[in-house]
């Protein structure tokens, strides 16, 4: 068996993957890669982040119904923004995946609403700068993400699907109803129920 490749801080590939329980695990640490870009403009770290995240951003956009060309453009722009804004990344506020997902959201809005000169992405950035709530009680970004992921695994497959559809494909009830071939009223109540279920799990896990 060929050992999996691991990435070091400076992005150099090395066959240093650790064996764990008989399986090789890939050490992909986006926080350290982003820190390496912030510190020294590490281009190998950028390439590693690109390889991991660009196809996922593209996949996320395409799941949301974006044409491949637009999804590709948003993915390229998102990763360039990661390069540009690396020094602004604060792991205490959000995990790398969440940070990158919000950058992609803002760029999707900018690009899709370019002709109307949307300023919505500036609104998100201003809100993002607001001081965190109750500093001592605030979980780190990684802890918050772990909690959210745990809450998501507690959704029923039906609820998970409704939440996923709503986030990726839109909160237009009619679209989701068409997609799942269920009546409009059912979509409304299912989405409301799924979101309140997710909220309940999140509060339980606080």
């Amino acid at each position: 068996m060929v050992p999996a490749l691991a990435l070091t801080v400076d992005g150099k590939r090395e066959a240093g993957a650790r064996a764990q329980g008989g399986r090789f695990i890939v050490l992909f640490d986006p926080n350290r890669l982003i820190a390496a870009i912030a510190r020294s403009g590490d281009r190998a770290a950028f390439a590693a982040l690109f390889d991991h995240f660009a196809p996922r951003v593209k996949g996320l956009l395409m799941r949301g119904g974006a044409p491949a060309e637009l999804a590709e453009e948003v993915a390229q722009e998102t990763l360039l923004a990661v390069w540009r804004k690396a020094a602004l990344f604060d792991p205490a506020k959000a995990s790398a995946s969440t940070w990158i997902a919000t950058i992609a959201r803002n760029l999707r809005i900018d690009i899709a609403r370019r002709e109307t000169r949307s300023r919505l992405s500036q609104v998100y950035e201003i809100l993002d700068d607001e001081a965190p709530e109750q500093p001592d009680a605030t979980l780190s970004g990684a802890e918050r993400d772990a909690r959210v992921r745990a809450a998501m695994t507690q959704l029923s497959p039906d609820q998970y699907r409704v939440v996923e559809l709503a986030f990726l494909e839109g909160f237009s009830h009619q679209d989701v109803a068409d997609r799942l071939a269920i009546p409009l009223g059912t979509v409304k109540s299912r989405l409301r129920l799924a979101l309140s279920h997710l909220r309940g799990r999140l509060e339980d896990l606080r």
Binding site: K58, E72, T98, Q122
Partner: protein, 208 residues
């Protein structure tokens, strides 16, 4: 400031996903800026998207990374923006043009908030103490964030920072706080029928 009224989970999730009409989103943002609890919830809903990003099936890029070498990197954040120039003004309104305050009656004035590309009409309303706002019915949404002062209607008291999410099922007549007056920002969709003397004054200005 103690927030009593917040957006529904669905509204906050649609905001987090970047899927609200920009006019409605601006009014929601005015609430979120004032409410640490809604900011916490927003960050959790953004983390849902981070989790979805990790789970999504990757799609191969047509091209490799663009050359980032020539792209300047931003220095660390300089911190919060300066103080708001006006009481009740929100930082999230900085990107938008604001029309002049125009009196539309005795002790009541409105100003447009210019949100390009929005389907909803957005405006600020400032009313003196004790005024009854126009009684009205409408077909779409009417979302309001209180910027300063307070009003009260059948569903409770709404003070600075509170969010009032009304749809066509609601039919209300807000009464402005008798001491503080009220300044709020409103986004409306659909058609509205305003009633009473104030309604008739407001009608041409809101341009439905």
């Amino acid at each position: 400031m103690s927030i009593m009224h917040r957006p529904s989970e669905e509204t906050l999730a649609a905001f987090a996903a970047g899927q609200l009409d920009e006019g409605l989103a601006v009014v929601v943002a005015c609430h979120i800026e004032a409410d640490p609890e809604s900011r916490r919830r927003l960050r959790e809903l953004e983390a849902v998207q981070g989790a979805l990003l990790d789970k999504v099936e990757p799609v191969a890029m047509a091209a490799g990374p663009r050359d980032a070498g020539g792209v300047a990197r931003t220095a660390p954040a300089s911190g919060m923006a300066g103080p708001s120039p006006e009481a009740g003004m929100r930082q999230v309104l900085r990107p938008y043009g604001l029309g002049p305050w125009r009196p539309i009656g005795v002790r009541i004035a409105m100003r447009r908030v210019e949100v390009p590309g929005a389907g909803a009409r957005v405006f600020m309303l400032r009313a003196g103490p004790g005024i009854a706002l126009p009684h009205h019915k409408h077909t779409g949404f009417e979302w309001t964030t209180i910027l300063a002062g307070a009003y009260e209607h059948e569903y409770g008291r709404y003070a600075a920072g509170d969010f009032d999410e009304a749809d066509s099922e609601h039919d209300h007549t807000p009464r402005v706080d008798p001491v503080e007056g009220c300044t709020c920002i409103v986004a409306m969709t659909g058609h509205v029928q305003l009633q009473g003397w104030l309604g008739r004054l407001l009608q041409p200005l809101v341009r439905f």
